[in-house]
């Protein structure tokens, strides 16, 4: 895969896509906007999985396909692999990415009227969660599209367990512990 594109371009495009669908096309209808964004992700996932499995043999079982998503697919998209994979052996998989690249630059308003920042503030966290969740529908769609192209129909949801309100100074990085649950359906 010789051709590359600037990451800044992709980031800006994704930001603008979410903001267009949420604020202009389907203003006040977040469910519709979410569905449209997820559908776009689905198409993108279909095509990406075609590209990235071109030279591989077919996957022998579902676990192999999930491992492909965790390693090769994630590396192509996000330049790293999934940090943790769990399953209940009954069709649900949890993929955990501790530093999700597309959310790495998001941060919320630390204004003092939201209360003391050192404590957990449910109101501020709620607003931040709403804002970030809209940006997660596209990656969820990508995964759903990729898996369905590999023969695994499923539903994909995303969770953010800790918000990007992280006060660590080591390395200056952002940690967004994030889990994905996939159910076979």
């Amino acid at each position: 895969m010789g051709r590359e594109v600037s990451e800044s371009c992709v980031d800006s495009l994704l930001t603008e896509m979410v903001s267009s669908y949420c604020d202009r096309f389907y203003a006040n209808k977040p469910d519709l906007a979410a569905r449209r964004i997820e559908a776009i992700g689905f198409q993108v996932g279909l095509q990406l999985s075609e590209r990235y499995t071109m030279e591989r043999p077919r996957f022998s079982d579902h676990l192999e396909a999930i491992k492909f998503i965790c390693k090769d697919f994630w590396s192509e998209l996000f330049k790293k692999q999934i940090d943790n994979l769990k399953t209940n052996h009954r069709g649900t998989f949890v993929l955990q990415d501790n530093r999700f690249r597309w959310l790495a630059r998001m941060s919320i308003d630390p204004s003092p009227e939201n209360g003391d920042l050192s404590q957990d503030n449910p109101l501020a966290e709620n607003k931040a969660a709403q804002a970030t969740s809209m940006h997660l529908y596209f990656p969820c769609g990508i995964i759903r599209g990729a898996l369905s192209n590999l023969g695994i129909p499923c539903a994909v949801t995303a969770d953010i367990s800790n918000l990007p309100a992280y006060w660590g100074y080591g390395g200056g990085g952002l940690v967004v512990p994030w889990q994905r649950r996939k159910k076979k359906g």
Binding site: S8, D11, S12, L14, T15, V18, S19, R105, M106, S107, I108, D109, P110, S111, A131, H135, P164, A165, W167, Y169, G172, L174
Partner: protein
């Protein structure tokens, strides 16, 4: 009465406290003069209220840039004042120093002005200001939740900025 007698060197300012940063304060303005960010780490004296202070600072920089460009003895042609230029190109002042502080300035081609006020023995901060501009691009311009032209309220930017400014010698 002696005006110029006595000690010729003014008393030097107090060394930066251990708890504070090496910098006193920082302003970020956009092209239209909106103050996007004002951070203060160590400023004992406040003479004006915030609005007047920002306007004064912006006006000062605007005038200084014009003045320094017009007084340039080496440039034969009349450059277009106000044309966006890369930092370092053309003729623009980058710092001034008094007995008690040094003010460093950088303007990006997009009109974002960064001003950092530090103690007077600070060296050349042009590279530091470029790094701060990179922080701005990464954590503010690329933040999906930020609207351009509004005051900056991004935790990540504030955190990384504080951490970096603390490390400037």
């Amino acid at each position: 009465m002696q005006f110029f007698g006595g000690s010729e060197i003014s008393p030097s300012p107090p060394a930066p406290t251990a708890s504070g940063n090496n910098a006193h304060m920082m302003y970020v303005f956009n092209r239209n003069g909106v103050c996007l960010l004002y951070r203060e780490w160590n400023r004992p004296l406040h003479t004006l209220n915030a609005q007047q202070d920002h306007k004064l600072m912006f006006g000062l920089l605007f005038s200084l840039k014009s003045l320094t460009a017009k007084m340039d003895p080496t440039n034969a042609e009349r450059g277009n004042l106000g044309v966006p230029q890369l930092p370092g190109q053309g003729c623009s002042f980058h710092s001034f120093r008094t007995n008690t502080y040094k003010l460093s300035f950088m303007e990006s081609p997009s009109g974002i002005k960064i001003i950092l006020v530090t103690h007077p023995r600070t060296g050349d901060l042009r590279e530091s200001l470029k790094y701060i501009y990179n922080l701005y691009v990464d954590y503010v311009a690329k933040n999906p939740l930020y609207t351009p032209g509004t005051p900056i309220r991004c935790e990540l930017f504030n955190t990384n900025l504080d951490q970096y400014v603390r490390s400037i010698a």
